[in-house]
Symmetry: C2
Subunit: 236 residues, 2 copies
DNA sequence: CAGCGCATAATTTGATCATATTACTGGTTG
DNA sequence: CAACCAGTAATATGATCAAATTATGCGCTG
């Protein structure tokens, strides 16, 4: 077990709060760290998130933490639990169905545009990420699998040159990140098929429609796993 | 000119900050007020938003304002202007195209679900809102037009029972609200066709596909106006 | 002598923290 | 079982520091 008490030592290196460095604002740093925590399942669904807890973990004041949490709430990564309390939301089966629809529609469109704009260098980079992903699967490295899988999609979003659609798609990851981790933790990395090769091949060939189709299937297959796990939990 | 100095007196009634009332948290109140300001075009695209300005207008401390602003930034309603400054974003034509795609896909789906779940009471309420909308058009009351138009769609979202899709669709309004106001301000309320009657009729008849189609056209027609205005501005 | 530009000063605004106040939770007691 | 009581955490303010923009003035050039 990694984080025992609460959000724990995962939040290792501090942003050196008080003396504003020459770099990023603290609220931004906090946001990014929490984002990764959620994205890669370091925070479990249902887990409470306390402002003061985060403050201590990262050695920052309440204000930046507060801002980061509001931001994550707005993105659906966290949720106000009724009165004042904030938790990592637990997805319902219905929620997953919504996510399937949204992801499938938006990501297909993004891949379509990405295919039309892709440069050779970009495709190469994408293939690299996918290779790293396959390697993580080989090694059974769950955390790395989740990360590379996300990077693969996120890089595609960036390639599409459609900032609004990209931010929508990106935001959806925050919603199912924690649940995805749970599912993959059970199934192991081996049993997680993806359509990345198919998508890549189609993109290399400039076949935007085929690439979109592959991505659609990739999304649906992945989210199906989550849905299945969730409906089993519901019975248990 | 309305807001001369900055965000101005539009932010009229204060939330009675210091003595924490028995009600809503200040950051929530601030968020909602700013939200309406953006949604109904009280803040123009490109207009800078200063934290301290808002603080004075609403007589609250910086922290709640800060939180509201972060939240709105996360939703795309506001944008970090490079270094620390925050502005109401100006849409590009490309942005509008993205919005058209996203709205059309998501809202059609929401209407589909709403039609299947609609109760008579809900349909009646929807018709009421639409009547208020028509009246606003008659009177040439732009502000009211924008508000009722939003309410119509928002109520539909709520009917669909799909919270994630609803929050996505809802969030998109914040992105084009300011620009929509500009466009409607030029065209006048008369020249703004909508497909609400068609959608309502289809919903009453339980024809989900037809309702979705009407909504799709409504969205596209409305956003086309914005796109057209924007591409004219680009030339001028 | 007028106009331009750069450098520095002043003001505005943002970021962060520490602290006081208020609300919620959970457990205990009458 | 209801109501109280303490502990814990969230809300909100104001002060302080840092950064960025705007204003100012001096010197230089044409």
């Amino acid at each position: 077990m990694r984080g025992d008490k609460n959000t724990a030592e995962v939040l290792s290196f501090t942003p050196s709060a008080q003396l504003g460095a020459g770099e990023l604002p603290a609220h931004e740093v906090v946001y990014r760290q929490m984002r990764e925590l959620i994205l890669f399942g370091e925070l479990a669904p249902g887990q409470p998130v306390t402002i003061q807890g985060i403050c201590e973990q990262l050695n920052v004041g309440m204000t930046p933490v507060r801002e980061a949490i509001r931001r994550l709430c707005a993105e659906g990564a966290l949720a106000f639990q009724g009165n004042r309390r904030v938790v990592v939301p637990e997805l319902t089966v219905d929620n997953v169905n919504e996510l399937i629809f949204a992801r499938q529609a938006i990501e297909a469109q993004l891949v379509l545009r990405a295919t039309e704009r892709a440069t050779d260098a970009e495709l190469e980079r994408l293939a690299e990420i996918d290779a790293a992903l396959d390697e993580a699967i080989e090694r059974g490295d769950l955390r790395n699998y989740l990360e590379q899988n996300y990077r693969f999609h996120a890089y595609l979003y960036a390639m599409a040159g459609a900032p609004i659609l990209a931010s929508l798609a990106d935001g959806l990851w925050l919603r199912f990140g924690p649940s995805l981790r749970v599912v993959c933790g059970r199934l192991g990395t081996r049993n997680l098929p993806d359509q990345h090769h198919e998508a890549l091949d189609a993109m290399r060939g400039g076949d935007a429609q085929a690439a979109a189709k592959a991505m659609r299937e990739d999304v649906i297959q992945g989210m199906e796993q989550v849905r299945r796990a969730l409906s089993e939990d519901a019975k248990a």
